[in-house]
């Protein structure tokens, strides 16, 4: 049967040709090349010049704009993602509670995640949070006078985080599908044991849902690190006011493509990659302690 194994291997690689070309040509080799570039000074017009770790050293010692960019990106990720997940789970549980009209609500909540990253929505968001915009007017009406959010360095990041939370729908749909798979008997058994609503949530919902929470958390964190279009549009490409929308991807774009510092931009990209990889690694390593897969008796 050796011949058959060879045939299968040939067929397998045959089917994978487009993917293999893309994987090596547009992902793996470019990754290696960008790692190399990150140790060089390169402006696309003259050949890259090897400068060792200078880009990385400069980033952390003499580039306050990078430090700020890293800080606001972290705040955006660390604040935005858990709130989005919590909102998604809360609404999913609400929808799971009754079937009446649930299909309509599910779709209505999902719509923003489809268009949330688009330029159109960023433009709407700018209007929503402008001074005298709907949000400002609404808050003024109940006596909270914050003025416009977009031009205010203290409020523009919260406005961006709200934009992320507004797109809770896709996460919610995944939670809802997960909730539907939890056997009803578990709740009945818990109720029989006298567990209240909160206790049922802690003892049944959370553990049964933990694989889905893990999945949503992982993708949510990684996605949040990569926010770009909305920051670009809301700040007109500047990252302002006062650098408060200068997310890491926007900063990378400006350094690489506006200032022609391709080597430095590559180094920023690698720092982003390493941070994302470390977070993914930590999540995968800790999942044994909090993620329960079906059939597990832990």
């Amino acid at each position: 049967m050796r011949q058959r194994a060879v045939k299968e291997t040939v067929a397998g690689y045959g089917f994978l040709v487009p993917w293999l070309v893309g994987f090596f040509g547009l992902t793996l080799i470019p990754m290696a090349y960008s790692l190399y570039l990150s140790f060089t000074s390169y402006n696309i017009f003259s050949p890259p010049k090897w400068i060792g770790f200078d880009n990385y050293i400069r980033m952390f010692t003499s580039d306050p704009a990078f430090i700020q960019s890293a800080q606001i990106t972290l705040i955006y990720v660390v604040v935005g993602t858990p709130i989005t997940l919590a909102a998604a789970l809360a609404v999913a549980m609400l929808l799971n509670y009754r079937d009446k009209g649930a299909g309509f609500f599910r779709s209505a909540f999902y719509a923003p995640s489809l268009i949330g990253g688009s330029v159109s929505v960023a433009i709407v968001w700018r209007a929503m949070f402008a001074s005298d915009g709907p949000v400002d007017n609404g808050l003024s009406a109940i006596g909270i006078d914050l003025g416009g959010w977009i031009g205010n360095p203290a409020l523009v990041l919260p406005a961006m985080i709200l934009l992320a939370i507004w797109q809770f729908g896709a996460t919610m749909v995944i939670f809802l599908a997960g909730l539907k798979q939890i056997p009803k008997e578990l709740y009945e058994a818990a109720e029989m044991d006298g567990a209240g609503a909160w206790h049922r949530f802690r003892a049944v919902t959370l553990p049964m849902l933990s694989p889905v929470i893990f999945f949503n958390l992982l993708l949510g964190l990684i996605g949040a690190f990569q926010v770009f279009a909305s920051a670009y549009i809301i700040s007109n490409g500047t990252g302002g006011p006062a650098g408060m929308t200068n997310f890491i991807t926007l900063y990378l774009y400006k350094r690489g493509f506006s200032d022609g510092q391709m080597g430095y931009a590559a180094a920023i990209a690698w720092v982003l990659l390493i941070v994302v990889a470390v977070i993914a690694f930590i999540l995968f390593r800790t999942q044994r302690s909090w993620v329960h897969y079906a059939g597990d008796n832990r």
Partner: protein, 307 residues
Amino acid sequence: MSTTSFGEPAIATLENQVDATPRAPRRKVKRKTWQTVIWFIVLIAVTAVVLYPLVWLLFATFKPNSEFGSNMGLIPNAPTIDNYTKVFEGIAGVPMWRFFLNSFIIAAGSVIGVLLSSSLAAYAFARIQFKGLSVLFAAMIGTLLLPFHVVIIPQYIIFNRLDMIDTFWPLLLPKFLATEAFFVFLLVQFIRQMPRDMDEAARIDGAGHMRIFWSIILPLIKPALITCSIFAFIWAWNDFLGPLLYLTSPENYPLPIALRLYNDQTSVSDYGATVTASFIALIPVLLFFLVFQRFLVDGVATQGLKG
């Protein structure tokens, strides 16, 4: 049992027979109705908040320029369709339909590329046993988590060398090479769920992989292919960074980049045109969403669950 035509009394009667105290179940039913009402109100409130920005956008397209800044509320004081006429005239010497056509070519091309390349790869990962399968599959999953930005600089250099700047190729070629792992992953999940009996029977009858792929698997996974098409279309339609990097002349701009023209040039005085062009850019996506929401929502749900 004359009350059975109405749900509530029937349930109450039934519960009366089980329960010793006759009043308790009735209260239970009442509490349930109240809970449903509150549930409904809460969800309607969430819906209103979530959909408000979109409704606002729709109404804003009918506001004259002078109203932006003075009336940011929902309803225009003096509704007009001037914005639409202005937008359709185009900007920077390029008519609006051109931006639309560019967006359409890029999005439709992306769909074709994604379907071809991702379904081939997914079939190999899901149905063929070959040496190196597990390593390559892990690599594919790895690219699912990879921040795209780590390859944009080398990719830009590659496409620059290939003289493809200011063409659609840098946007389309990656789709034909299955670089978006989301689609490969979604299709793998779907193919794995399909029963193997049919393709095994076909194999015994001497059918090769190409044949099984084409006449058995592809028809079976049609719902997943539709899901992929819709996502591929909408993502390509909304993409901003790609066209921003690769397209330099306005006649090649797709809508999101063209929107920036309205936006940059006259951020104060031509707000009406900006908002209206934004709305027009969203229409195809919203239409797709209304027609195919079932596929989209189910597609997302499947993707998350079997991860």
